[in-house]
């Protein structure tokens, strides 16, 4: 049981699509990246078309859908990167 909140940061096209760079999500019970992804897409349906290209990071590491998320974690939505 992980109650509390996490900060979820959005970047680049995902940020522009959502219209915000950070949201705070409430955790209820055991939560994974997949759960947060669902909550995010529910809140911002405009992100749905990009959903297959989005990756997530938890505390600065790339995560899988199964990665657990706990109160106080920093989660990030990572659209396709294009450095260099």
């Amino acid at each position: 049981m992980s109650a509390g909140t996490v900060q979820l940061f959005l970047f680049a096209g995902a940020r522009e699509c959502a219209g915000v760079g950070m949201i705070v999500l409430e955790l209820s019970g055991d939560t994974t990246v997949a759960n947060l992804s669902e909550a995010l897409l529910h809140r911002f349906p405009a992100l749905s078309s990009a959903r297959n290209s989005l990756r997530f990071a938890v505390n600065g590491f790339y995560a899988t859908p199964e990665t657990p998320v706990r109160a106080g974690d920093e989660v990030a939505v990572i659209p396709p990167v294009a450095g260099g």
Partner: protein, 135 residues
């Protein structure tokens, strides 16, 4: 002293060369990625770069640790710029040193390939039809 950084000012290739140079390194390979005047046939006027900076630095360090594990005696460094860049400006500078040139070339090439695949940095291209995010 290897360095992995995100800068919001013009990059300095000399700083990256210095970061990997040492008396046992006979070879340094340096890569500079610059803003081209066109992409996919369209004229480009500028590029805006954005980074998730803390993770970008951490990911650069993880890439370097992986490569240095497979290529002993290699030292790596990379600095990426963010903000609005004009044509001709450097967006990224990375370097590898090694006792001999084969390893320096291989490590520098692998560093920039991994950077482009994994490091959370994005760019918005300003072309004839306005801006759009690349990728």
């Amino acid at each position: 002293m290897s360095r992995f950084e995100i800068w919001d000012r013009p990059l300095d290739p000399g700083a990256v060369i210095d970061a990997v140079s040492h008396p046992g390194a006979g070879a340094v390979d340096l890569f500079i990625g610059t803003v081209r005047d066109r992409n996919a046939g369209l004229a480009i006027s500028r590029l805006d770069y954005e980074a998730y900076a803390p993770m970008a630095v951490a990911e650069l360090k993880r890439i370097a640790a992986e490569l240095e594990g497979g290529l002993p005696n290699v030292r790596l460094a990379a600095i990426h710029r963010v903000g609005s860049l004009q044509v001709g400006e450097a967006a990224v500078v990375c370097a590898a040193s090694a006792p001999h040139r084969q390893e320096a070339f291989a490590a520098c090439r692998q560093m920039i390939d991994a950077l482009k695949a994994r490091v959370p940095i994005w760019k918005r291209e300003w072309g004839p039809e306005g801006p759009h995010w690349v990728g």
